[in-house]
Symmetry: C2
Subunit: 301 residues, 2 copies
């Protein structure tokens, strides 16, 4: 089968055998945003040469403005609900192959404003059956960082923080970005830790952001260290406002899913706050798609 | 005399008589940022026809990258310190006129990270001598909102929040902006109040920002109302993290200085939170420059 993780800005494809082992990988920049209106052609091109009869997809390909808008499933939901919620879509030019999309998840119960995920539920699906009983907290850092509370194999709560996007717009379009070197510099642990500590102080995020400017003005850090300081402030605010800090007793460990570079920053921050970390690779989506399909085809309906 | 409020992105000029009465006003978009390297030529052009011998300036014209970098004065500082801190700058082509710049203010005592203002201290200078004794809280909303604590006629504490700039970069460069009409829409009190209430809930600003997206996704507000919802969230966070909410007993009133449109939003927010408001016009800078010059020339050194 072919497993496709089709996000807003990137497309990852995996060729899997019947046991879920990865036989091949492809990656392209043809995210859902720029593939709009020609998803079929983009997919045909990307899977050329892989003639497997089944294509399973997750992510923004199933969102509004995607290929086929899938309704959200409501939390709590586990692999059973996700597997049953998958839908086959009609598409021409695929020589009778079956194309399926995983639904997104919506949490309307745990906050005054609903929260959602699309794609991350499939990464979580790979974890759900492997976690022991009880409660677990999972963080998927990114443009929009997702925090999920998992209990007894089901996703109960979703909280999204716009951390990655805020970092990017401040870096590229604000006065703070003008103080920094144009290209991203290496991680500066001293400045990052200072940003983390700053996030625990009074004044709020809007004030702490201005402090990046005054820290530059008074040469508290070298220009090259300012991106790490900004990152520490933002990630610190994200973590401190998360489920992690509102739950009592505080969970001793957080599961992290994502790319190595981003995970390194979050792991550094959580460790500094005395929280244990268990890392999982980003390509969990392939395993999740395989797990959901197995569930769908092997369980009694 | 000529009073000049030369900020980052705009230039305001006032012709004053000896009592400080405004005889004429001019305004231009030649802010300090785009006037870099040719401040003398820009000023000559803007004051053409006004042949007064004295030109008093405040704002980013005295900042790093401005015409002449003025050192910061440290808080606490009142009109006496500000008047004595004014410096005459050398400039050719002004037919012997005197050009003076007011210093900026720095607060290194009340927070772990220093905070600063340039230009706002001169607007405050117009207020300082008119306020009764005791403690006052002044808010100057803007790209970088300034909060100042005034006690016994001196500015004691400065706190800046990057509210206006964050609104602008999110509006123009983030996924949130893409959900909204391209041009700014009229103030929507219902959505603004919802944003204000949201700012009091758990989850933090980074999470509340993502809620603008889900509120759009689930049609909680019309697209035209989303800018007001975003504005309510940001201003709510600014106010709740300010000195206003950390001081006990909570001050009953806040002085607001700024342009009418922005002041309307802040006054609406403060009133909704049960705080009294006293509004002052943006062109206080002209009165401040006159007050500082009077102090400088009439008081014994």
């Amino acid at each position: 089968m072919i497993a496709v993780d089709w996000g807003t800005s990137s497309l990852r494809l995996y060729r899997l055998d019947a046991t879920g082992m990865v036989l091949g990988r492809r990656r392209s920049e043809s995210g859902a945003l720029i593939s709009k209106g020609r998803f079929d052609k983009v997919l045909s091109g990307e899977i050329a040469g892989w003639d497997d009869p089944l294509v399973l997809m997750c992510g923004m390909v199933g969102g509004r403005g995607g290929w086929h808008e899938m309704p959200y499933l409501d939390c709590p939901a586990g692999n059973g609900e996700l597997a049953q919620g998958m839908r086959r879509i009609a598409a021409e030019g695929f020589d009778g192959r079956e194309l399926w999309i995983v639904p997104g998840l919506r949490d309307t119960a745990s906050d005054a404003v609903p929260d959602v995920m699309r794609g991350e539920e499939t990464q979580l699906a790979a974890l759900l059956d492997t976690l022991p009983g009880g409660s677990h907290l999972v963080c998927l850092p990114g443009t929009h960082s997702k925090w999920a509370t998992v209990r007894e194999g089901r996703i109960r709560r979703i909280t999204t923080a716009m951390t990655g996007e805020l970092y990017a717009v401040l870096r590229e379009h604000s006065i703070l970005g003008q103080l920094m070197p144009a290209v991203d510099t290496r991680f500066d642990a001293y400045a990052f830790d200072a940003g983390l500590k700053r996030s625990a102080q009074a004044g709020g995020l809007l004030h702490h952001l201005f402090g990046v400017r005054t820290s530059s003005l008074f040469r508290k850090f070298a220009d090259e260290a300012l991106p790490s300081y900004l990152s520490g402030i933002l990630i610190g605010h994200e973590i401190r406002a998360s489920e992690l800090f509102s739950r009592s007793p505080r969970p001793a460990q957080v599961h992290l899913i994502g790319n190595e570079r981003l995970l390194a920053s979050y792991a550094h921050a959580l460790t500094a706050l005395g929280i244990g970390v268990q890392r999982h690779p980003e390509d969990l989506a392939a395993r999740g798609l395989h797990a959901l399909w197995s569930r769908r085809t092997h369980e009694p309906r």
